[in-house]
Amino acid sequence: MSLSLLLLLAIGLALAGWLAGRARAWGFRAAAGGTRLAALPSYHGWYVALWIAIPLLAFIALWTTLAPDLVQQSVLSDPAASGLPAFDFQRNAILAQARAVATGAAATTTHPDAAALVEPYRAAIARYRLIGILATLGIAVAAGAFAFLRLRPQFTARTRVERTVLAVLLLASLVAVLTTLGILVSLIFETIRFFGMISPIDFLFGTMWSPDPMVSAQSADATRYGAIPLFWGTIFIGAIIAMIVAIPLGLMSAIYLTQYAKPSYRKWLKPALEILAGVPTVVYGYFAALTVAPAIRDAAQAVGIAGASSESALAAGLVMGVMIIPFVSSMADDSIAAVPQAMRDGSLAMGATKSETIRRVLIPAALPGIVAGIMLAVSRAIGETMIVVMAASTAANLSANPLEAMTTVTVQIVAMLTGEGSFDHPATLSAFALGFVLFLVTLALNFIALRVVKRFREAYE
């Protein structure tokens, strides 16, 4: 509550600074008989506003973290707090009750010690709120006055404002990069811990995946941590079955949409196809588990395959393939449409038919873009979890039979982390090792895709 109050105050002060700065700049103009300023008046306004807003935001961020501690300190120094138990746990419980009443979150408290502290709490909160507001005003006035007094007709307010905006933009882009780095570092540390318990050789080349979270961490059996069945399941479902579905369907729909569809059809079909990409994967999961998997089992039994299970790699792969059609088709669509009209004309003028032109000129020319789209789809597919959880089971199984239950890396990461194992057990830590290897694989795929896209850009220009 006091945070939103301070923020509102900061916005109001910055607005006042903006108006004052702009008014001063207009004043310069009027005084100088309408000569040109070095920057537009509104930039002078922004200059003052930024000088007010940035220190205030920094102060508010600091204050909201410090203020509760300061309040608590002052309450504890109150004579009424002398009778509180020394033990932290009890004392904190009483303080929390008192604070709840003081801030109005609770109506009353039954605890006598807490009741005694309500008033001191209320007083301390009010005092620090006042201090916060006064400090905010003080900082705003000081910073605003500093900026305001620096304004001159020849003051280069615009370049300074733009530099600040640039810094904000840079900061925004750094957030994504730093987050990625943070993820990577946390993965690496846990992965190193895991490899301290289970050798990387056993992990990367073992063929049995059956972690044992119940035995003690010291006696974990390294031969049960072979990740090959998981990576095989991932590749089989995500990169083989799903691609067998997605590549032909995606390419054919892209060709139809760019080359054959009437504009009126295209107007409806393309967005409809792109909606596929927006369906939550868990919804695909229902579809796979409740509709496709039983249908596949029944079909398999009908042709005499007795052991067909209701959870199959085929069901998960098929549905995943449908899910990633839009990735393949929209990249293929864009890159086919990007082939210059001159290529198409050149081919048609040679007496080539439309289909010859598509097969021999457009697709080869668009191939890098198409490949990039497929790479993107593959990395999406192997990172997919929900469909596999729901349709392909969690049993690791090294098999080439698509009708068998299989599992993937992402599913096992979820299974290991949501179990009851402790964080010093290899079964739990294996999730990080799996995640790390998966991260490297998708990174490599994205890297390849980016390189291919780069080559594509150079093809015609």
């Binding site: 001159a342 004309d345 050149g346 081919s347 003028a349 007496g351 080539a352 080869p364 020319a365 093809a459």
Partner: protein, 262 residues
């Protein structure tokens, strides 16, 4: 409507256009043009930008078909056969009436594959040896063989602009057409490359009917024997190139070739 020079001798028309109008939607881009295009001659279409000369050229091998709003009226015949009649095979027509575009547009394939493309889709070569022969012959005919014979597997797009345009001419020649349409083939080239293309056009004239659209009146005077002047969708004047340039019948033609507008 059209002024045809009286001393234009009769020649066998390879292509014959009668009252051809081309529309883009409701807009009439070409208004009732009639012209005979003779074999073994170079016919130049000249005129200011937007006069419809390229549109008319593209009507001659039905490349306007690729523009959904384009519509052609009138009659265009190739060896007496109406190319707009229903049941006309556009693929066959374009194999007989080749085209070279304003901007060189080699396929992003090797030099060899660029030339072999046409013969392959039309099934002109049986086996690799015959295809090699066609590629060599076409490149020689386009005057490019000596420059590229050692790097046939290099990409066609890596050649210089002038070489690319000669590659496109070789590509058109490779399917053995009867007519070659050239839409401002030198407008993207430097003067040296232009001179080579013009020389090439003159050499090719013996075997084909060539139609060239050009902005350059000097080029029309240098390479063509017949010239048609287009203005605002009309063909204003048609005759021997020497007659058009020395003795134009129409005021607009005279103004254009003396550079008064355009």
């Amino acid at each position: 409507m059209t002024f045809v020079h009286p001393n234009l001798e009769e020649t066998d028309a390879k292509m014959r256009a009668r009252d051809v109008s081309v529309y883009y939607g409701a807009k009439k881009a070409i208004d009732e043009v009639s012209i005979d295009i003779p074999s073994k001659y170079v016919t130049a279409f000249i005129g200011p930008s937007g006069c419809g000369k390229s549109t008319f050229l593209r009507a001659l091998n039905r490349m306007n078909d690729t523009i959904p709003s384009a519509r052609v009226e009138g009659c265009i015949e190739l060896d007496g056969e109406d190319i707009y009649k229903s049941g006309m095979d556009v693929v066959q027509l374009r194999a007989r009436v080749g085209m070279v575009f304003q901007k060189p547009n080699p396929f992003p394939k090797s030099i060899y594959e660029n030339i072999a493309y046409g013969p392959r889709i039309h099934g002109l070569a049986e086996g690799k040896a015959e295809l090699d022969g066609i590629v060599e012959r076409s490149l020689k005919r386009a005057g490019l063989w000596n420059e590229v014979k050692d790097r046939l597997s290099d990409s066609g797009t890596a050649l210089s602009g002038g070489q690319q345009q000669r590659l496109c001419i070789a590509r058109a020649v490779a399917v053995d057409p009867e007519v070659i349409l050239m839409d401002e083939p030198c407008s993207a080239l430097d003067p040296i490359a232009t001179a080579k293309i013009e020389e090439l056009i003159d050499e090719l004239r013996g075997n084909y009917a060539i139609v060239i659209v050009t902005h350059s009146m000097q080029q029309a005077a240098r390479v063509s024997q017949r010239t048609a002047f287009f203005h605002l969708g009309n063909m204003v004047e048609y005759g021997r190139t020497s007659d058009i340039f020395t003795n134009p019948l129409e005021e607009r033609t005279k103004d254009y070739i003396t550079g008064r507008y355009g």
